[in-house]
Symmetry: C2
């Protein structure tokens, strides 16, 4: 873009509240609940999207939630349940009367019901399965036989398919004469006589082609078949990587059993990201509507791991008690080396975890990336060595103290780069999610090395 255009172009609007439920709207709804005005409540809620209603239910407190749902009664839409965070889904289901629940659930597609009930307790699951129509119940139960987090749980079972030898006219006539087409579909899946998918025809292409054109001649260029047991995170990756809109799902004998659409893949991608970012910070699966007890329980384990780490670092320091007693400046400066190492290690670690998640870090470039991280550690280490050496010199007036802290800085930043990239790679190879546990290892390494290098060098050089 030319400089001129750059100046003329306005900023993209990042409206804070573009998609946030307005506080005023929530207040009005809660007021209607307060005065027990059912008509007003329905009038206020009617224009809201189920996803926004779910967000609101998550944000208000449990007492308001209960009163709102009781007052809203039969208006309660099944889609709200699927949009609700798992942390309060059970609570909300328990608030619904059996008739309201039955009506709400019957509106849903079978894949949404699966998504809804898979984390519920057995009694709630049974209650919901019971109110479904027989065909739906069978579909849901069959989906539940696929492993959790698999393509089988994600797919919808209603597929629009056509034999590979059909032409456009035959396909269009078939579509126009079929009573029950799925609510949303974007492709016709072409199958061979054994029901194995051979290609996708986009509806737009179908519309534009002449009737006598063979379906097999207007197939999508990119065609991706997904095994029913494939991990849903890998499915989301494929959709993102290859810009898929829908993809057929096949069983072990490669027969078509369902189809996954991009909106489901997008939700999975979003959840995967949430998991990565929270795991990196040492927070388990969490939600803003979790209780204090729940939240404490999620965060305790990581803090406990960190305590062990911190005590190990302290034990390193304890080895140098005599030196510290002789020169208290060591106690003042030692956290700097450890802290810089921890930060540099976390930087390298986060880049590595993200690159592993996006499959950008592979056998082809792993050694080059490791070399780069070590080199970056060295360069940054040297830069901060100079700075800290000068700080040591001017603060404590000792050239030798400056040398010591500078050398320790270089050592720890190189080690930080190596640990930050190496540990997640090793975790991944060992089959452990690198986002889950690498952080503790990396900071243990940088703390121990940081304290040991600084205090050890101090003993050698200064005392």
């Amino acid at each position: 873009m030319s400089d001129e255009t750059e100046v003329l172009a306005p900023e993209a609007e990042h409206e804070e509240d573009a998609y946030t439920l307005e506080r005023k709207a929530v207040a009005a709804i809660l007021y209607a609940v307060d005065i027990n005005d059912r008509e007003k409540l329905i009038e206020l809620m009617e224009p809201l999207h189920p996803a926004d209603i779910a967000d609101m239910l998550e944000q208000i407190n449990a007492f308001d939630r209960m009163r709102l749902i009781k007052l809203y009664g039969r208006e309660f839409d099944g889609e709200i349940l699927t949009e609700l965070d798992e942390s309060i889904r059970e609570e909300v289901i328990n608030l619904l009367s059996p008739e309201v629940l039955a009506e709400a659930v019957r509106e849903l597609d079978s894949d949404d019901v699966v998504d809804l009930i898979e984390d519920l307790e057995q009694t709630q699951q049974d209650a919901i399965l019971e109110v479904l129509e027989d065909s739906d119940r069978v579909a849901v139960q069959q989906s539940m036989t696929y492993p959790e987090y698999s393509a089988g749980r994600l797919m919808q079972r209603e597929v629009v398919m056509a034999p590979e030898h059909w032409n456009v006219g035959e396909a269009i006539d078939y579509l126009r004469n079929t009573d029950e087409l799925p609510d949303h579909f974007y492709h016709i899946v072409l199958v061979d006589p054994r029901l194995r998918p051979v290609g996708n025809v986009a509806l737009g292409k179908l519309m534009a082609a002449r009737r006598e054109v063979m379906l097999s001649s207007i197939l999508e260029e990119t065609f991706h078949v997904i095994p029913v047991t494939r991990y849903d995170g890998d499915v989301a990756y494929a959709f993102n990587q290859y810009h898929l809109i829908s993809a057929p799902v096949v069983d072990e004998s490669e027969r078509l059993v369902g189809v996954i659409t991009i909106d489901d893949a997008m939700s999975v991608l979003d959840e995967e990201h949430e998991e990565d970012i929270l795991r990196l910070a040492g927070v388990g699966e969490s939600s803003l509507s979790d209780s204090v007890f729940e939240t404490t329980k999620q965060r305790f384990p990581w803090l406990a791991v960190n305590l062990v780490t911190a005590v190990m670092a302290s034990m390193v320091i304890a080895q140098f008690e005599v030196a510290i007693a002789q020169l208290v400046a060591l106690a003042v400066l030692m956290p700097i080396v450890a802290s810089m190492g921890g930060n540099a290690g976390t930087q390298a670690l986060t880049v590595a975890v993200r690159a592993l998640a996006t499959k950008d870090l592979t056998g082809s470039n792993v050694w080059r990336v490791i070399r780069r991280e070590v080199a970056v550690g060295l360069v940054n280490g040297l830069a901060f060595a100079v700075i800290m050496g000068l700080v040591g010199l001017f603060w404590f007036g000792s050239v030798q103290l400056g040398y010591v802290i500078a050398s320790a800085m270089v050592i720890n930043l190189v080690v930080a780069g190596l640990a930050g990239i190496g540990i997640p790679i090793l975790m991944e190879r060992a089959g452990v999610d690198p986002a889950l546990a690498s952080g503790a290892f990396v900071t243990t390494v940088t703390d121990v090395v940081g304290f040991f290098a600084f205090l050890g060098l101090a003993v050698l050089v200064l005392l």
Copy 2:
């Protein structure tokens, strides 16, 4: 799911290499380059998706990249360029001969060309604009007048629209008689006489309806119109929140100017996540193919901020030099309190940053969430106070030292919770991305408070 099913269901397959370019395939390709065998190279590359070719180009080194691209020559597909990471896009474009570049770029849709050139230098931009056909060039230049990161840059300008008074038959006839339909479209946008979008008709619904049915009676339930200047991150949020597949884009006078499809929104969502996770770790925009120099430059600023933080914490320690000289155990134990606070603060911070990004943390629940974080800090603080009190007692045989470290732990974990939630909220209110800078503030607070509380209490109680 019943326990029985749980046992029967196999694990979801998480194949490490499900979508990773196999090392062997890359090796074979590089071998073909080594022996200068163009036919073999084309044979090996032909089945690969442009996204995978781009990944491979990112993973091999610059010398191999150059030789491969030279040998591949005219086969080079324009889509590879759009899939390439920005860090090496310029380099690759410079490697292409003008004819190859021209051919590659002419194949692309105008929104892809925009995406391709917006980060290039002016000379490269001009070179690409020059080879486009006149109509495409005008379209690209017009898109470039919209702000960066806006819906206008993201949208495609080819829209399939129909007047609101048409019926299904008219729409189908129109589609079948139109020569140039976009490659991918999922909805017909219904417009009023002033070209303002009034609804979406899904192609599947159109197919299934009788010819005399009015389009306006089979509109999608969820319909979302996006202003052309809307920030692309907000666009991605709307697609994810409301499960949109495509959405019309309008200018200031609410006239239809383009359409955004979910695959573009998904890419934006993925980029936003990458930004969040890297910013939280203090890494700027980065890529695995960045050089050592680039990478050092990205990471240096955060480490510099951390150095200032660490020096501030050291200055707090320096105030207590006399106490430490009297009781070296203080130097041994003090990093534990600071480190636990830093971790607890990062936990609260990450949850807050994520909740702000997903718009789950709003005016309706902000105070409840703040109260919760403080309570969690208190509970975890008390738990670790007991543990650390005992460690202090048994390690150093001093009950009073145990009291001191326990009290400092409670104080610092409560402060960590408050800082972890409060600082990102304040950043967001001030219009700064909370992922970008909160971390430094939070750890400054927990370091300073941690050292001050522990050493200060020690002076009061022990000396």
